[in-house]
Assembly symmetry: none
Amino acid sequence: MLTEERFGVILSILESRGSVTVTELMKELRSSESTVRRDLNTLDEEGLLTKVRGGAISKRPFSTRDDEVKLRRERNTDEKLTIGKYAASLIKKNDFVYVDAGTSTDLMLDYVTEREAVYVTNAVSHAMKLAGLGCTVFLIGGEFKHTTEAIVGEEAIVSLEKYNFTKGFFGANGITKKNGFTTPEVKEAMVKRKAMESCKCCYVLADESKFGEISAISFGDLEDATIITNKIPKGFLQVKNIKEVDE
Amino acid sequence: MLTEERFGVILSILESRGSVTVTELMKELRSSESTVRRDLNTLDEEGLLTKVRGGAISKRPFSTRDDEVKLRRERNTDEKLTIGKYAASLIKKNDFVYVDAGTSTDLMLDYVTEREAVYVTNAVSHAMKLAGLGCTVFLIGGEFKHTTEAIVGEEAIVSLEKYNFTKGFFGANGITKKNGFTTPEVKEAMVKRKAMESCKCCYVLADESKFGEISAISFGDLEDATIITNKIPKGFLQVKNIKEVDE
DNA sequence: TCATTTTTCGTCAAAATCATTCACAAAATC
DNA sequence: GATTTTGTGAATGATTTTGACGAAAAATGA
């Protein structure tokens, strides 16, 4: 196994589990103790993990994901909040709403007031937030992904089949005329695509920075959803289905 | 288990329960009394917890006496831990395991080591714990109940239909010969019942205090599952399918 | 009070982990 | 083709951690 490969495996194990022992790594990597130790030393020197007696722990001992989410939230927050606020105002009594996992939609939830709508989501955190507001919430079934705390995979897609939503709210990492809406994760993209198909009205929440960007996987065409953004870039002015909101 | 890992576990237990005994920690951490004491000393020196006779309490200046009382009362978790430990040891490679929501099963998860089994649960916290261990986890779909953070209701039952588990682990509030296994919540009982039907082997985790108690709703007969307990009460001695575990 | 139980502390040997060295093989360089 | 470089695995001895045991101290109960 290549050195770089091993580094990757070690770091990804740390990412998901938070800690590993030397012995565990010997088995996972099928290498000797010496090699594992050398790897850990290198990665420690490079500051990519923290070596401790017996193994290594992830460089961020405290609630990794929370911090990341916090950080991400602080970027473009103002615009995202405005977008979220407007999106939330679209939810009416008796709506059957799908809320996609992601930070954009998360910010939207802070403005949700409609308790007489029913909500479905694939994000555990969204479910908790909505349930905390006193709303009726359903989580779709399927594989639970640790890093994003969202439900993804084949099973999730089957779960979505039975629903017919009146409105759906989505996030996207990239939006172009040619590739439509894109996101970096394959499994998540599949879920998004299926969910969009099940919605009468789709809304994509995206600040201006997303326009012109392309991520790995497309999950819908530009015409499939109404984009809610803070500022429509020049190239997209003539596109229908874009709503610009400010303050 | 890594030293830092142990520190993390100790602190997180303190975070959630407020106090722990040395004996509990010996079981949770699977290390000797000496090690636990050393750990507590270190963490106390670092000011991360307050050591008290018999264990440790969370670092909060006030209401020390109350906490110490609480510490005494919580001693019965010892038995629950033993039960959980045994139950976890039943999970083997390639098992397809259902884990019911609840505190008994939660304690069991601390002993789960089998990463090559697939787990399905209706409890969000269980899913997170298992995913954190690096296991493959599925959440069933359905209504998300805020108070218990579990998935319940009609939809959850339908979700369960497609599964055929090799083993299932359940909690119960009451066990009698006549009424079988009982629980106070209607919606949760329905889910339990359906899940039990889908398991080849069912295990009910219950300490001795549950025998003779009756809650509102039955979700299974005594013969439907193997009971794992710390002490079989007199009246149940001749019942088959009870496993008594100690230490 | 005094005896009994529980908890704590200290010591020590065993086990685990670590850094270092050396030998070997594959790849890169000359 | 001979060499250097690089990566790997094994062996060694030093160091740290661990678990067990026994004695001391504190709590408990009669």
